[in-house]
Symmetry: C2
Subunit: 151 residues, 2 copies
């Protein structure tokens, strides 16, 4: 299997189709956001997006990320950091979790072994049933301090 679950060409089709299903267009700005998130390889903030492309208007970035999130293409990640982080949804990347540095706010992706992930999922399914919840997804975060911030 190659690096990503979905090839870059397919992403455009996927994005167009998922946006269409909520009656939204796949515009130049939205295409650009997807491209930036794809290059980032880790969750990034709105400020980082604005720095990486000075053509983008802040208000449009906020609005379009919200729309991409509604379309299920992008996930917004909230931590104790002031700024939200954004990354592509798991069916575009793959299922993973986040390791978060509390001092600097950086977020990196990590993967659980298939075995533990599976055991966890089946546990969680049972728990959701017990609570009468309908589950969308789970998230697992590791909170601590990265090597750079330890010194």
């Amino acid at each position: 299997m190659d690096m990503s679950t979905v090839s870059e060409i397919d992403i455009d089709q996927l994005a167009a189709s998922q946006l269409k299903s909520i009656k939204q267009r796949y515009t130049k700005n939205r295409r650009q956001l997807i491209a930036i998130l794809l290059e980032a390889t880790k969750p990034i903030t709105i400020n980082q997006i604005l720095e990486s492309d000075s053509e983008l208007a802040q208000s449009s970035v906020y609005r379009n990320l919200a729309i991409l999130e509604q379309a299920g293409l992008v996930v917004r990640i909230i931590t104790n950091d002031d700024h939200a982080h954004y990354e592509l949804a798991e069916h575009i990347l793959d299922h993973h979790h986040h390791i978060i540095c509390s001092p600097c706010g950086e977020i990196l992706d990590f993967h659980l072994s298939a075995k533990i992930e599976k055991a966890l999922e089946s546990s969680l399914k049972k728990i959701a049933d017990d609570f009468g919840f309908s589950i969308d997804r789970h998230r697992l975060d590791l909170l601590g301090t990265c090597g750079d911030c330890i010194e």
Copy 2:
């Protein structure tokens, strides 16, 4: 084992001692916050705290919850909801995770079986090492829709 890891009497001693270690006093307001969180049995928002005791000043509640968090007595929980939720730290309650209803913002606690929790922890320890992270804690959230919001 009884309902909580630490009995109510011990909490006062614990709170006093943990506050002292960061040179803070265990005042009437802070005692009251601990009591409210203990009664809540689930994570609650600042608004809910203010509603439950009209004597408390909003600014003091914010400040004191931040201090209780620094002392390691309280945990602040951030979700996609606008309002942060607060609950007592895990050495006062016990280690647990959160099931979150996206529509209404409600948060409930759940427990993983000891077996899976243990397997997960040892996995996470290895991953933290690989990343050169020093880990404080992990958190696992189940995101979905509660029974009340499904109808």
